[in-house]
Amino acid sequence: MTTLGQLGLWLALLIGAWGTFVGFYGGITGRAELIASARRATYALCGVLVVASIGLLVALLKHDFNVAYVAGYTSRDLPTVYILSAFYGGQAGSLLFWAVVLSIFGALAQWLTSRRYDHLLPHVAGVTSAVVLFFVIVTLFAANPFERLPFTPADGSGLNPQLQNPGMVIHPPMLYLGYISITIPFAFGVAALVSRRLDTGWLHAIRKWTIVSWLFLSIGITLGRWWAYVELGWGGYWAWDPVENASFLPWLTMTAFLHSVMIQEKRGMLKKWNMVLISLSFLLSIFGTFITRSGIISSVHSFAQSQVGYYFLGFLIFIILAMAALLWLRLPMLESEAHLESMVSREASFLFNNLILVGIAFSVFWGTMFPIISEIVRGTQVTVGPPFFNQVNIPLGILLLALTGIGPLIAWRKASVRNLQRQFAVPVASGGIAAAILTALGMGNFYAIATVSLGAFVTGTILQEFVRGVGARHRLHGEGYAQALARLVGRNRRRYGGYVVHLGIVIYFLAFTGQAFTVDLEASLNPGEVAEMRSPWGHTYAFTHIGVSQYDELNRLVSAASVEVARDGERVGIMKSEKRQHFTCSAPIEPCPRQMRQRSFEPSTEAGIRSDLREDVYIVFAGVVEGTEEAVYRFTLNPMVWWVWFGGFVLVVGGVVTLWPGTTIRTVGQDDTQGGYAAQLVEAKRA
């Protein structure tokens, strides 16, 4: 099967090169047979790469340990689901995964895009083929998953136990899908530039793709947080690790892009900026893959250092130069059709939203790369950690949160005093009340007060929009409230889906604020001994160490420590945290006798987690004092963690609402100075 896989890769090399050439050449000359050939090339590319992927999957499933990749990432006793996830678990396989998924997206873009955009599609085929070609080249010449060993090991070395977690099965592919799908909007941007068709057509063609890749990135990041939280055992879900940052960067620029395209669609402004943003997003998605794959920055995530890094670096430089040249050539065609009329307008608020998002992205990028930058400039590596990122991003995040409330409701062009009063009186009041309540309760943390009151303000704007919209439909069309809500959302999916996404963002902010109040305690306890701590909500927790037990489970030896937990004197239950030592057996005997066991990998920790709406109890068992039953624990009380997962869920729901087919886009008319849908409805009726 690996022969088939190899063959698939070589064919992909040829087809990719042909598709790149014929896509651009056919697009420029407009020759129908070349254009048709470019389209067929994307389908063929997809076909051969799917065959190559099947080749790898079969090798994995058949335990063909003569293949280095199969031996390096799987073993006989590995559950099937993790054998399948080993496809993208290692470096070589993940590169093939990139190539095959992008080829599928490329084919879908050709197949699903409306005939209206036929003038763009050959160039799109050229770009997607070129990017696939790059990944095929890296796979073939730098990290080939089909490479064979000079011998056949009896068993593979297995998958790192920390990766043997359901979150790890779906987190990487989700993130990859996000990274990879950015290529499609980028390809349309390039196509618009090359073909000189710089009207809003390309923006309409990619609307769905943009939201899809933004959604995949969001889901991937959330699942990554969840994995880090349950599996890494340090008690948090975000550590500003380089690889986490790398996934956050394109998310930020894509979020900026999602907002700024609305300005171009409605007002014909920001054309250059949008091209820069989508190119930046694409570059950052490649950069993210580069960071993960090259090991250039030390991170818990990175893979072995290898020459793959140089390929990526070369590719990044090539894209930067090519895009800079292309943009420079087309600069005269990207002039704005309108000017900013007032600072108190939706355009201005979106511009500031973009500035802040890009500012955050820049600071995260700078902080991530700072060890390298300082080494080049000063000769010594200087690193920055979470304090830097928090210090910079918390104030910027709070500004952004304020704009989340202002942007959607303020009028286009120039907001009138009436508009401001009408839209913001209630939300500002609710924000003020929230701030007053918190201060009265004795909250001393300024950032927490700012976040919660701005959260109340934004929630106020969102609820007001829903209430007014439903009310207006109820009055004007005589619909029942439920029907009015359904129609309201159904007829304005992008707007109301966006509101729901904003609600998810508010929930995120509140949950992140909770992290400022985390408390933890390390304690060494004999059986029966109690450790007490006070939670930020004012509860008193008592942890009683019960005992440690050892037993075998599948391919590992488990030491489990049990703790009885009581809150304010009431028994909550027993919580368990495990230390797992995975082993391989030198003979295929079940169960494996002790003397035949070989430790594989470092021990891993299973934290005990008990979650409720207010706070999580997070228990890590660190080990026993040799020869006794005295156990060392770290107890963490983590406020509001549940809301991180819930915020992620709300965000995805909102994204799906916007994706639902059937939105229509209007441009702003002369009288259309009122922001907010409800206001428009009333105004339309009055006219």
């Binding site: 990432y73 009329e341 007032s342 511009l351 902080g367 830097f388 910027l396």
Partner: protein, 134 residues
Amino acid sequence: MKAKYKFLFGAVLVAGTVGFLMTSGIKETGVYFLTPTELAAKVAVDPSFHDVGVKMGARVVHGSITRNVGTQTITFQVTDGTQTYPVVYRGLAPDTFTDDVDGVVEGRLEPDGTFRATTLLAKCGSRYETTPQA
């Protein structure tokens, strides 16, 4: 055009804020990342370097780890081949911390030559990969 200038003013303000937050953030939280040899060189030139928190990346010397679970203290030695430092760390070590891993310790070098670490990170020795054994 007036709005445009106002916006530019606002943009400069935002950019300035970002720049200010970043430079002050780096100044306040930036930490030297050194190898043991580089650390030895820095201290030799400037003894006040003992008071500066640094990160040191080095390999854990095989067999040097002693754990005292009772006092939650771990002592071990790290080396880059030329310079070796004893390290004292109080706290929980990550699972990945074992012999021969590349570790990063953050803390201060005491005048007596021991490195007192406040954080201990271990790069996963296998970096989620292992080399297949024959």
